[in-house]
Symmetry: C2
Subunit: 368 residues, 2 copies
């Protein structure tokens, strides 16, 4: 059984050279899965490059080859806010993930064995680096715009910091220039919970017997950071389940909701990939790319415009970090618009609050 699950519509780019990682390793035989929508003009003149959050595949939207809804189905398609009648949209499964791309769950081509924990340390800069190399293979020197939600926004910043002239416009959504200690604490504890599951076994679990208990607990903790207390108060209140557990199991609807979310997650995402990508988010800091006293995003000065969109109830990428990002972009001389949306769904609002996010994304893209 192969740990890497490739969605039906995805294609694969094989990098011609080993990838030199940000921490100094050499990664041979890198493959990146991707999907695309719309028709490319020229050499990416109308291309929007979409970086993903931690857990999604490249299947952001349905297509002829895969009619199943994608993770951003409401946003991408003909006439939708990311309008594929006009734009060519390109989405890669991140390096380090497990949906067709090279990562801890794929095989080391030199040994033929799964990488597992022998995979080199992954940084957000490597997600950017592998994507740059894949664009070279596809003959795309510069895309029209980059869209990055959550980790995708960090990947977009890393991409632009490393390859400043690779895009004209940037749309950052619910992201940040660096991880702050509360977010580090959440992710660190998630990783520790997975590692504490005896089945994890230092990453040597079998594909048909994964550390399901640890992954379920980690996902529940994730949901607490992805949504918001306000949303849950309105949505669940103190309603009890029809059949509350007489012991220490779930009694309230909020508990059964979290259990259902955990059920949906486990089995789909490889635990080793999860902890590699999670650690990479903690390590990211755009300031590392600037010299002492420099404008942190001065490398992005070539952007024609940027938009930073965030949500008031986001506790993982709080709005003040997104204001800081907008300020830093302006400090680099980039014409930047900032939108702090009053969504109550927290960090995940960009996936569910289509009424608020749709118009903001549509309007920004209409102007670029």
């Amino acid at each position: 059984m192969n740990a890497v699950i490739q969605p039906p519509a995805s294609q694969v780019v094989e990098l011609p050279q080993p990838l030199q990682t940000w921490c100094g390793d050499s990664l041979p035989g890198v493959r990146l899965a991707y999907e695309s929508w719309g028709t490319m003009r020229g050499r990416g003149d109308n291309t929007l490059l979409l970086f993903t959050g931690l857990s999604p595949s490249a299947h952001a939207a349905s297509s002829e080859n895969d009619p199943e809804d994608g993770w951003w189905e409401a946003m991408i398609g003909p006439g939708k806010p990311i309008d594929t009648d006009r734009f060519h949209v390109l989405c890669f499964n991140s390096l380090g993930s497990c949906f067709g791309s090279t990562g801890p769950a794929s095989r080391n081509p030199e040994s033929g064995e799964p990488w597992r924990l022998s995979f080199p340390e992954l940084r957000v800069e490597d997600i950017a680096g592998a994507t740059r190399a894949a664009l070279d293979v596809l003959g795309i020197e510069r895309v029209h715009g980059i869209i990055g939600p959550s980790l995708g926004g960090m990947s977009a910043l890393a991409f632009l910091l490393r390859y400043p002239n690779s895009a004209r416009h940037l749309l950052s959504i619910s992201s940040a220039m660096q991880a702050l200690p509360f977010a580090i604490a959440v992710r660190s504890l998630q990783r520790e919970i997975v590692r504490a599951d005896p089945v994890w076994d230092e990453g040597r679990y079998r594909q048909d017997r994964q550390p399901v208990s640890g992954m379920r607990l980690a996902r529940k903790l994730g949901m607490m950071s992805y949504r918001s207390p306000e949303e849950w108060t309105g949505r669940f209140g103190r309603r009890k389940m029809d059949h509350p557990d007489p012991g220490f199991g779930p009694r309230y609807e909020i508990e059964s909701y979290l259990a259902a979310q955990a059920d949906r997650f486990v089995g789909g995402f490889d635990p080793n990939c999860y902890i590699y990508l999670s650690r990479a988010m903690d390590a990211f800091d755009a300031d590392d790319h600037a010299g002492e006293g420099e404008q942190p995003l001065k490398a992005l000065a070539g952007l024609a415009s940027a938009a930073v969109v965030g949500v008031e109830s986001d506790i993982l990428f709080p709005l003040h970090q997104q204001r800081d990002l907008a300020t830093a972009l302006e400090g680099a001389g980039v014409a930047t618009e900032f939108h702090g949306l009053p969504s109550i769904q927290g960090h995940d609002a960009f996936l569910v609050d289509n009424e608020r996010f749709g118009p903001v994304i549509r309007d920004y893209l209409a102007g670029i």
Copy 2:
């Protein structure tokens, strides 16, 4: 080895009758450990009854018999905000806890075996009920005031709802009338993490081999709900440890801080007591004590005054819940003052932000 650790200064009340629990069980041989400071006048005319949060013992402050600092050392003592030159302060270790009082870690007097999970379901109402029975033994019909932080505030409400004339004044600190879904989610996940530790073994762990891994993880999650992102950003930022772990272990100071907090907790608190008390907090709802359409706290109408103190950065007992509590007290006709403090230390601020809490507590008590 006995699972119940009794602090040196604590005394014990033995209840003369089995305790009838809120869920309908009968609990024989209940003992409650307590400490006191100051001199009682009359039959409790100057007594302040202090209910504790989830994890503390009755050792709230040092005394001749136990000079070690208590958990609220800065607040209780001669000339301190809770002034023991004037007041007699009485603090019980809650029923269900493990510092001298009856709970899952103590022995069933009928079988001689530790209760473990055979302990009956515990409710906040039972903490109140056992305390009321203990006061009867001590000959105290009515105390001057009740002080309750966190779970202690819920216990205070349960006490006053069940025994309306047992106190003249109420000081509620960082508490609430009921658990909302975010707080339930946090505690439910903490319990699940402890239960997922194989060493827990359905509560049958040996006293010298406890589910330390689960308790450590649960405590770290607890700390995320007890403090605040703002505090951690200012206190730790992105500072790295001197010797960051090359693998998936701690690299940032926030991670080593959480590890140190977890180290301090494990071994000191019994895991079964922890999950019993945690579940009791989820179940508490002051509204359960009122009929349809009634003022929820009308049973408290006999109070001469109340003060509700909370903190803006509290994510576990958010300030809006404390405003609701103050409003409900006013609705019951109680003269109530409300203080929303701008502390950045979150729920735990009452334990550490003495500069803000001290004057508020001192001033309220000076007026009663």
